[in-house]
Every structure is written in C-alpha cells, then in structure tokens.
Amino acid sequence: MDDPPIEKISIPGPLLSSLLQLFASSPADTSGYIFGHLLPLSPSPPLHDDSDPPPFPPSSPPLFATITSLFSSPNNPNFLSPLASSTAPLLGWFSARRQTPLRPSMREFSISKTLFTQTPNAPSPCIFLILSGSFSHQPIHTHEYRAFQFKSDGTFEPKPLQIVNIGPDFRPHYNVFSPISPIPSLALNECEEDKRPKSLSEMKGEKGAIEQKAMDACAEGFSITRLGRLMGSEPARYTAELEELYGKMLKRLESLAQQVVESSAKLLEQVPRF
C-alpha cells in the first residue's frame, strides 16, 4: 500500500486542551481514538468534473489532517473498545502516559499496526499522537506531545502538530459565511404547504367540511360564525344564547350519567351472586 503523505496535522486549541485535561485528570495512563478529516493541501485542478476522480491521484498530493474529535474509554486503558459512533472518520489514536519519553513503545507499535492493517475501516493514513508530561505534585505542570504518521512499512514518521484557534479578527468572516447544508425539512402535517395559517371561514369552505359536520353536531346550531361574534364589540346579546347552549350540554351530560347509572344497576343484577 502506498501511503499518502501527510504534510501537517492540525488540532483545534479547545480540543487539545480538553485532551490534556482528560489526561491530567485520568488516574493513570490513558488512550483513545482520534477522529477528523483529511483534505488535499492544494486543491486539485477541476478537470474531471464528470468522471470519478481517483481518491489519491498518482502523484499523491500531500494531505492536511484536521483532528475534530476524540474518544477515550476511561475504564480500561489497555483496550481500545469498539469504535464509538462518530460523524467524522477515524484518523488514528492517541496514547497518553506520564513522564515517559515521546517515542512509540512496543505496545503502541503493535496497536498501530493492528489498527492500520487488520481493522476493516482502517484509517489511511493513520495518525498517532503521544502525550506525556509531569503532573505529580509540582507547582508547574508541563505537557509534551508529538504527532506521527504510521506508515505501512511499520515506521512512525514525526509530523508537525498545528494548534488552530479562532482569533479576534475572525468575527468579520461570519458576515461572508453562508451555510452549505440546507435547513432540515421538519415533519409537519399537510397544511404546511400554505405559509399563512388558514382562517376559520376558509376551513369551513374547504377540506374542513367533515370536521365541521362533526363539530356542528355538538354545537347544535350554534355555528362557529356566531361564536366569532363573541370576540366583537357587542357580545352581551349573545350571552343568553350561549348560556342556553351550555344548559343543553349540561342536560345531555346529566342524561348520559343517568344512563350509565341505570345500565350498571342492570349489570349488577345480571352478575350471579355467590
């Protein structure tokens, strides 16, 4: 396998500090996965628009790796648990061990090799990050880290690690920023086609006929248009009508309750007594 060369690796400052924090707070040595993106350093010329360009053109332009997220299993440092679901592809892994030389160890070589050659979705190229430092009871903590590209011939090649932070001059960039992803479609019901909500009268005239019928049965002639007048300036005239409607409704509820009482009494009679 031909290794695409990595020119440089970048990591956002907050992510690096969270990684250092994760390490500093862990009781012992720790390790985990690195996720991120790989981009060609110089954009390839847009010649083959229609044809599928090969993933790495014969010249293999240098790549620019960006670490975007991490996953570490705090429970067992010596076992890299199955890949956690991450939106970004797997880039490699990191090993954090206190007060040790920044050189890959025997085990780290084996893990890198296994990860690179025997994992189905093996990262290519594979990045390996070593963190070290002194943390024990000293007033000043020092952190050291070193990034490598693990090559298919079994060598670790040191690579520069660039820390990317947003500076104060980044603000104007928001003005020229345009989102690439569309606003997600929200699952609403059919009336979302019209941008404005429907008025009651429109509802009556259109598809709402069925609902209207059911409503009219309950309203008993007290149509929705008349209800609308309640909101106007002279609702007092209609209060009597409304009270009559409520009265009817209460009577109906009462008769329903009566029926329930009678039917349960009949049921009780039919139940055999023991």
Partner: protein, 387 residues
Amino acid sequence: MSMEVASNTAPPQLAPLIAAQLNYLLIHSPLTLKVDQVWSGCKQPIFSDRFTLLVPYCLDYTRWDIIYNAVYPLAPPDVIFAPEDENFHPLSYVTEGQSDNNTTISSLLDWNIKDPSRLLSLVHGLRDLYVAYQRKRVGEIDDARLKFELSTLISREGIEVCLISESDKPEEVKFAVPLLDMDLNKLVHGCTWKHQQKIYVQVVFLVSKKYSSVPSAPHIKLVASSELKSLFSIEDIKLPVWLDGMCMAEYLPMLEENLKLQIMEAVASLNARRRFIEALALLFGRPLEADPIFCRRVTMLASSGVFTFLVHFYLSTQFPKQQPVLILQSSQHFDSMGIPIKSPPISDCPWSPRWDASQMVERIFEFMVEESANFKKYCSESILSQH
C-alpha cells in the same frame, strides 16, 4: 540489589508485585542488569510503577523503560526502547514469524503479575529478539568485508554485533566476541564471583560504502568483566598485530592462544603469591590480615626490641617478576590527628624472581631487621617535627 532499588525510590516505592518481579529479575538473571530510575505514572502516586532498566548488550548498556500501570495491575508492562532503536519492534518479529521465539508474545498475552519470574522471561525474550534484530541490521549493510566477517563469526556462541550510527560520525559496526571456551570462575579456588566471568574482544569496523582497496584495520580492545581485575589486568595483555588483509577468523585463534598463556601466567602468579604468604608465616608468625583468595595483600606484625610495627605487603598480578611493595606502620607513633605513622612505600628490598619463596622471605626478614631501626628513627623525627 533489592536494597539498591529501595534506596532509589525517593519517589514512592515500587508496587509490591512489581518489586517482586524486578527483584527476581535482578537476583536470578545471569546478565548484569541495572536499575537506573524508578518513578510513578499515576495521578495519586502511592506506588511507583515504572523504571529504567540498563540491559547489557555488546559490551555496553541499552536503556529500556519498563512501563507498568499501578492502576491496572493485571495489564502486562510496556517497553520503550532506546532512541536509536526506533525500528526495533519485537512483537512484529514474532507475529511475522521471523523468529520461532514466541514466548515473549505469549507471556504478554497471558500475563500474570503474581508470578515473579515473568519479568525475567520477558526481558530475556526481548533481549534475544534484540540480538537477532541487531544481527539483521548489520547483515543488511552493503559492505563486502563486514558481510564476510559476519558470515564467518556468526556461528560463534554468544557473539553480539551492533551498528553504531551517530549523525556526526561515520557508521561503525561493533563486534563483541566472547573468548576462551573455559570457565574462568573455576580458575581461582574459593573465589566468590557472583557472575560468570568472561573476556571479550571488542572489534570495531568502519563501514565502507564503496569497496576500498585497503580496508582499514579495525579497533581492537580486550574487555573483561570487572571482577577479573584482581586476578590479572586486562590492559597488560599484549594484543597480536593485525596484519593487512587479515580477517577475524584468522586473528581470533591467535588472540585466544595468547590470552590463554597469559591467564596461565596469572594463575601461576597467584600460586606464587600464595606460597610467598605461606612462607612469610614461618618467619613472621601468623599474618594479622591476608587476602586468602587472590593473595594480593598481607599484613604481618613485627617487632624489634620493644618497637612493634606492622608490615603491609602489596603483591602485584605480575608477582614474582615485580617485587612486593612494603609499607611499615608503627603501632606506637601517631601523628597529631591520631593516625598511625606509615613509611613511604618501599620497593627496593633485596629481590630476585628466581629465588624460591623461603629465600625471598629470609632476605626480606633480614632487610626488615636493618630497616626497623631506620623506621623507628623516622617515626620519632616525624613526632618531633609536629611540636
């Protein structure tokens, strides 16, 4: 050795199970391993869990950091090798089947922290793989002479080679060849050498990339384990001359023959010293103090009238050829610090290496009779000069 470890752990002590494995290694290994540094990798260091091991290789030491994890004691230790060995990947040797020695990986796979012998087998397994790795590295060098030397020597038992490449120096290959197929520990009766004593020849060849017409002579040096120096001094042994166009297969038998003779001489010298000390006892009485194994030192008590003094004899490894050096020490005269007054070393007493031991002792005894008066005078004068 365990005491040494304990005193090194000014940071917390090694976790007990790790210390048990390390002590077992240091006590039982035939290699002269050293522990350089012990420290902890934990956030709350109660115990140390990592140390630097100096592993002897090719007449030098290579540094291996053995990294245990005190928080996860069941996990096998990891090893970080020296910076110049960045291409040494012992586990890949094993998985690629390049070595039939797969005990290393199996011992790591089924690691048992409670078995104290595990670290010993791991370190020895790794060192065997390291020997193979260095041989492979040297074998890959494109140098006709080195290839020839390696092919003729590789069958010798215990041979070690290593490639020395420093950025500012031309590449060199170092051979460490154990010499003499004899047990040096049995040469000296009653000796207490802990490790197997060995003499090695160190041969350093310059790597020549292009085939040069006259390959330069290698640097040759004899190296003996440190305890051998009480029997003979390796620096005194004369090396045969390296002739142009010679190879090591020719040179080594000559060297070994030479060395064998000189070791025999050293043993003969030891026997002569022993006989000398035994003869001393006949005239001077029982020695106050003597080195019974290598017979390099003996102290006698002598008196001339009421003046009693000690006679220290220092016998060299070239003994009958080199006469003993005597120092007299008064038991009655002390300097202002309360230290007994001693004579300067005397190396001009009557002597001939051809005399037998009793004659040597007789002549020294006679010399002592005269010398005691001088020494008494010397002591009184040095006391007077203090006041």
